[in-house]
Structure formats: C-alpha cells, structure tokens
C-alpha cells in the first residue's frame, strides 16, 4: 500500500504555477527520490505534504486518508534550509521540537538519551546551538527530524554540509530507519546518492511530473541498446545490425568501442558477429546513470 498518494495536485502562486496536475504514489517502506532541477516545484510539493501550505486543486492521501492534523506527528521533516534557535540549549531545543511532534516530555527525554549516546554527543546537551559547528548543528537537526519515530521522513538535501564521515553515519541511519519500516522521501540534486539509496524515483520538471517509478524499471526504459567492447584486432562493422558510435585507443593495442545495437537484436548476436574478427577483453551494456536519465528527461522537455 502506498503511504502517500498525491492526486492531481495543482499549486499556484501569484505569478507562477508551482505544481501542475501532479500525481505521485509513494510506496511504504521504501526510499523515494524526489528529483528535479532548482525551482521545479519539489519544495512546494514537500510543503503541501507537510501541511505547511495547501494545494489549490487535488488532494493528498496519507495511508489512504485525506491529509489531516493527526498526520503531522507521523511525519518528520528536514528542510533544505536548516535552522535551529541559535541561543537555545541543544537539549531544551530537542525536547521542545519533540513535544511539538506529540511526544511527552518523559518519552522525549528517553529517546533523546538513546540518540545522544548513539551519536556520541552527550556533552552537547547544555551547549548553545550557536556554539556548535555547522556539521554539529546538522546532526542535532537530523535527530530532531527522526526522534519521534515518524512513519514518513522527508529529507531535503540531507547530506549537504556533512563531511564524508558524518555523511556515512547519516546514510547508515537512513538505511536503518528504512529497515525499521519508515518511508523516506529524498529530495536531492546529487545523483550519486539517488543511485546508491533510492528504490523509487519521481522527477518533476517545470511544475510537471515527467518521470515516476521504481529505479530499475526506469533504468530499463532509458536503455539505449548501447554496449561497449574492449578488443584487439580490427572491427569491421559491416554487418548492418550494429553501428560503432565511438572508438578510443587503450594501452597495448587494445581499443574500446561503443556500439549501438538495433532494437530487436540481442547482445549474443553482437558477440557472435564480433568473435571471428577480434580478441575481446571485456564486454558489457552501457546502463544509463541516474545523472544521464536526469539530463535527458530535463532536456527533452522543450523550453516553455
């Protein structure tokens, strides 16, 4: 079952349309990548799911119910623009934010202790937020996002501002949360993160959804029947059902060729036709990276 069902949502601001008839399903227990160039409408959608603003048209279902106040405590939100009360103590601040999400003071305290041990930040409790470095503040904010064990966690660019060690720490936490059954929505521009973590993606461009589905299915869709061969010898290529689109010299007389295959032909046929002529060192299919998919989807849409 889908935890979030976005149905035909349109959001208009005074001088532009932020979301234009967008429908997205977010399956439970997965990591969902919400992609799109700057200004595409991702933040608008996230704010609608968080009930910070409302849609002009359409509706959002959370667990099959129309979005309402009772869902607020089941969502954790880490906005792209991080922020905490600068002069408030870390402990007080986290307690406050947790209580706003519906935890009692006692529950919040217990859960906080666990996180403070886990992140080894026990000494920070009485520190002012302004005394922490930016990375430390990010950690505190991450704790505040997930402390109330929400069913849905929305992370907007979660790794920005973290050094590689802490980024790893956070990544592991995200995976653990997923194991425990939380659904995670990622909004990011970093395609390597998407590649690594996301099960599902949706791409929004110019206020419209242009792509949506499980990551492997989408990759399948974007295959171009392109293969690479590293070989020694002479590639004649007169067979007709393939075409060498690029070639590059490698060391020891090896060469690397990119070969485009006609759609109804299999890689086996290609290999069979090559074997008599060349010595093959390696062969494989060029799977499009998320980055390529992103670029292609965005560029295919004509400029409005």
């Amino acid at each position: 079952m889908n935890i979030i069902e976005v149905r035909n949502v349109t959001k208009e601001y005074s001088n532009h349309i932020a979301l234009d008839d967008v429908s997205i399903s977010i399956p439970r227990g997965q990591i969902f990548g919400l992609l799109g160039p700057n200004g595409a409408g991702k933040t608008s959608l996230i704010r609608i799911i968080n009930q910070i603003t409302g849609p002009d048209k359409g509706e959002i279902l959370f667990d099959g119910q129309r979005l309402n106040d009772s869902h607020i405590s089941r969502i954790g939100y880490l906005p792209e623009e991080r922020g905490l009360y600068k002069k408030m103590k870390v402990g007080d601040q986290l307690l406050y934010l947790a209580q706003l999400k519906g935890l009692s003071q006692k529950e919040a305290l217990e859960k906080l202790k666990v996180w403070f041990v886990k992140f080894d930040i026990k000494t920070w409790w009485d520190k002012s937020v302004s005394d922490l470095s930016k990375g430390m503040q990010q950690k505190v904010q991450f704790v505040s996002t997930v402390l109330h064990e929400p069913d849905l966690i929305i992370l907007d660019e979660p790794f920005s501002g973290f050094d590689p060690i802490n980024a790893n720490l956070i990544r592991d936490e995200i995976l653990e949360l997923k194991q425990k059954g939380s659904t995670i929505i990622f909004s990011t521009h970093r395609m390597e993160t998407v590649e690594e973590l996301c099960d599902h993606i949706a791409l929004i461009h110019k206020s419209k959804k242009v792509l949506d589905g499980p990551k492997n299915v989408i990759k399948e869709q974007f295959k171009t029947h392109t293969y690479f061969v590293e070989y020694r010898g002479s590639l004649t290529g007169q067979n007709g059902f393939y075409e060498v689109s690029a070639e590059k010299e490698l060391e020891n007389e090896y060469r690397r060729a990119t070969i485009h295959l006609e759609e109804n032909r299999s890689p086996n046929e290609l290999l069979a036709s090559l074997l008599p002529y060349v010595e093959i060192r390696s062969f494989g299919e060029n799977i499009p990276s998320m980055s390529e998919i992103f670029m292609r989807s965005v560029n295919e849409i004509p400029e409005a």
Partner: protein, 441 residues
C-alpha cells in the same frame, strides 16, 4: 491547543531566563526607589547654606534680604571694585551689587558669582529687589502698606468632584499623576514588548527554524503563542516590579526616617504622613500645608480597583493590538534592519496618542479626549489618562468593546501576512505586496 501552550511556554521561559530580563527586573525598582529617595532627600535635604554678599549703595534693602534655611545674606560696605576683589577671597557664592539710583534705573543691579548663579537664587534676589522698589514707588504715590495688605487676596480653591457617591475630595493633581503614569507605562510596554514579538518572529525567520516549527504547529498558533508568551513576560515583569518596589520603598523610607528622626522631628512627621497617605482627609487646612499628603489623600479618594482593572485591560488590549501588527512586520521582512520601512505607520498612532495624552490631561472631557479614547488605536493610552478623572461607564464599555474588536482585527490581518511572510525570503516587500498577501486564499 497543546501546541500553542508549548509555544507559549517556550517563548515565556526563554525570555524570563535571559540575563537582560533579570537586570531590568532588578533595575526597574531600584530606579523607582532611587527616584523616591531623591525626592525625599531634596524635600528635606539640601541643608548647606549659601552665603550671598550684598553691597547696597542705596541703603534701601538692609532689612529686606532675610536669611533663610538655605541662604545667608552678608551686608558689606565699600565700593564695588574692592568688593569684587574681596569676593574672590571669601567662600560666598554670589555678590549682589545695588547701585544708589536703583529706584530710577533698576536694570543696573548686578549679581556677580564665581560660578553660574542658579535660577532660583537669581529670581529670589530679583523678587526682593522688585518688591522693595515697588513698595517705595507705591508709598511715594501715597499708597500705604495697610492698603496693600488689605487688597491682597489669596485664593486656593479646593476641587470637589460631584458624583453619585456624594462629594469627595479629589485632586486633579493626583488624577493627572496617576493617568500620566498609567499612560506612560502602557506606551512603554507596547513599544518594548511589541518590538520583542517582532524580533522573535524575524529571528525565527532568519534562522530558518520557522519551517520546521510550522511543519508541527499551525502558523497562527505559533504567532499567537509568541504574542501571549511575551504578554506574560510583561505581566511578570510588572508584578515583580510592584512587589520589589513596594518592598524596597518601605525599607528605604524606614531607614531614611529613622535617620532623619534624630535630626528633625518635623521631617519625620512628614515622612510618616507620606507613608500613611491619609492625613489630609477632611482637613483641608492641614492638607494645603502639606501638598504631598494632599496628593496621597486624593489618591485614596480615587477608585483604585477600577483604575487597576482598566490598566490591566488596556495594557493587554493595547499590547495585543499593536504586537500583532509588529508581528506582521517581523514576518514580512528578512532582517531587523528592514523593519524600519514598515514601523512608521505602526509607531505613529502610538506616539500620537502619547502626544494627545498631554492635551487630554488638561481637558479630560473634551471632544478630542472622547474620540481618541474610543478609537482602538489610541484608546489604550488615552482612556487610561481619562479614567482617574472619572469617565461615564458607557464610554468605557464602548471603548473596551471597540478595542477587543480592534485587536481581533489586527490579529486576523497579521495572521494573513504572517503565514505568507515567514516563508518568503530574499524579496523586497512593498505595501502592495503585503496587501496581496492578505487576500491570498
């Protein structure tokens, strides 16, 4: 509801725990007490006597300059030049030179002093000389002292307000003082606490925490929680001030009076009267001699519970009305520096009310007083000025109802601007833009 309470709690605790709150809370009563102590000190104190040398060439003033508690007159002879040289060697603070033909040319009188002469001293000396010259001129014209004395009338009217409860002594001075103080306190607190609301909102916006908060709390709840939290801070401060001031004042006057009693029993009597605040009642003759006691007596004749109740109401009402507007400004801008452009239309009515208050004090029942105490934007300050003088119940009721409607209106308006403004960054906001926000769906 739980969330709004949490917000109120945070806003309250964060401010009350601040060092500046503690300092202001302690300093406030100290200032009050310092003021009070200075007044007593001045009233009974300035004991050092100044010596004034008088060189009277005309010989007309020998009996006119009389020594007082603070002034000692020393008559000298000789010519002015030697007197001037001698003056420098003495410790006298002034030298008055009255030439021979002073009656014909009164402007030739000179006062020499090592430092600047105080206005009081100058006017006292002038008064004595003027009076003597006048007397001489009058008697030259054939008018005797007896006629003069008889023609002098001293009017000191006693004001008595007529109300249903019967006659009672009232003093417009006491009403003026109370009204003025209340108006000033409301004026100050609207500014101080209104600005705190504005700062708080801008702080949340610039630190970007607001987006996290409003994913848990409705923007309106957040705004209202902040406004109420700050209002409670204000009330706490008032309460602490009153407690501390009363405590410190009684302690101070106890110490002062025990010291003074050794020096002068009369002074002690005076202080006791000030403390008891009751003496002049029903004894107008006595009260006239003792203005402080008169005021305190008159204060007691005022309807203190009504004044306190109204003060509380108008303090809260005025604060709520304006802090909502301050809050809207805080939400509309990106940082404190940008608030200036929107502050003017909010601060103008407050400043105007304070200016109007001076006129209303003089004419508490005029039409300016009536209208400004009915209109919600000026009523919190103006009505407080009028209430000690007595205001018809229907006027108070009308003004209160309009104030409630007023702050509900500004809160609604502010909430509309707030919910859009807090998520709007990097945009130079204009009034036109604000108007658009109000009508967003």
């Amino acid at each position: 509801m739980r969330n709004i309470f949490l917000v109120i709690k945070r806003e309250y605790l964060v401010r009350v725990k601040k060092k500046s709150f503690l300092i202001m809370t302690l300093l406030g009563p100290l200032l009050f007490v310092g003021f009070y102590a200075t007044v007593i000190w001045v009233a009974i104190g300035s004991v050092d006597t100044k010596t004034v040398q008088v060189l009277d060439e005309s010989g007309l003033f020998r009996n006119e300059f009389k020594d007082s508690e603070t002034l000692h007159f020393d008559f000298i002879n000789g010519n002015i030049d030697s007197a001037k040289t001698d003056f420098r060697k003495t410790e006298a603070s002034a030298l008055v030179y009255i030439p021979k033909n002073v009656i014909r040319e009164p402007k030739t009188v000179r006062i020499y002093a090592s430092k600047n002469v105080s206005l009081d001293l100058k006017s006292e000396i002038e008064k004595v000389i003027e009076k003597q010259i006048e007397d001489i001129k009058l008697s030259e014209a054939g008018i005797t002292h007896k006629i003069l004395e008889d023609s002098r009338v001293n009017v000191s009217s006693e004001t008595i307000s007529l109300s249903e409860e019967g006659e009672k002594n009232s003093s417009s001075a006491a009403a003026t003082a109370i009204g003025g103080v209340c108006a000033f306190l409301i004026y100050m607190s609207v500014f101080i606490y209104g600005t705190q609301v504005m700062r708080g909102i801008t702080e949340e916006k610039t630190s970007r925490i607001v987006e996290v908060i409003i994913s848990s709390v409705k923007p309106f709840q957040l705004m209202l929680g902040k406004i109420i939290g700050v209002a409670l801070v204000g009330l706490t401060q008032f309460l602490l001030w009153i407690i501390l001031t009363v405590g410190l004042t009684s302690a101070t006057s106890a110490i002062v009076s025990s010291q003074m009693s050794k020096e002068s029993p009369q002074v002690q009597q005076e202080i006791e009267k000030m403390q008891n605040g009751m003496p002049g009642r029903g004894m107008p003759g006595n009260a006239v001699e003792n203005p402080m006691a008169e005021i305190l007596g008159a204060v007691n004749s005022l309807n203190i519970p009504l004044i306190l109740g109204c003060f509380l109401f108008y303090y809260l009402g005025g604060y709520l009305l304006y802090s909502a507007l301050f809050g809207a400004v805080g939400a509309a801008v990106d940082n404190d520096a940008d608030t200036q452009q929107f502050m003017l239309p909010i601060t103008l009515p407050i400043i105007f009310s304070f200016v109007f208050a001076q006129f209303v004090l003089r004419d508490p029942d005029g039409s300016l007083a009536f209208w400004t105490s009915i209109i919600p934007f000026t009523s919190p300050i103006i009505m407080m000025v009028r209430i000690p003088f007595g205001v018809p119940a229907w006027e108070i009721a009308l003004s209160m109802v309009l104030l409630v409607i007023g702050f509900m209106g500004t809160t609604w308006l502010a909430a509309r601007i707030y919910r859009v403004g807090i998520l709007m960054y990097g945009k130079k906001v204009t009034y036109k833009e604000l108007a658009k926000w109000i009508f967003y769906k």
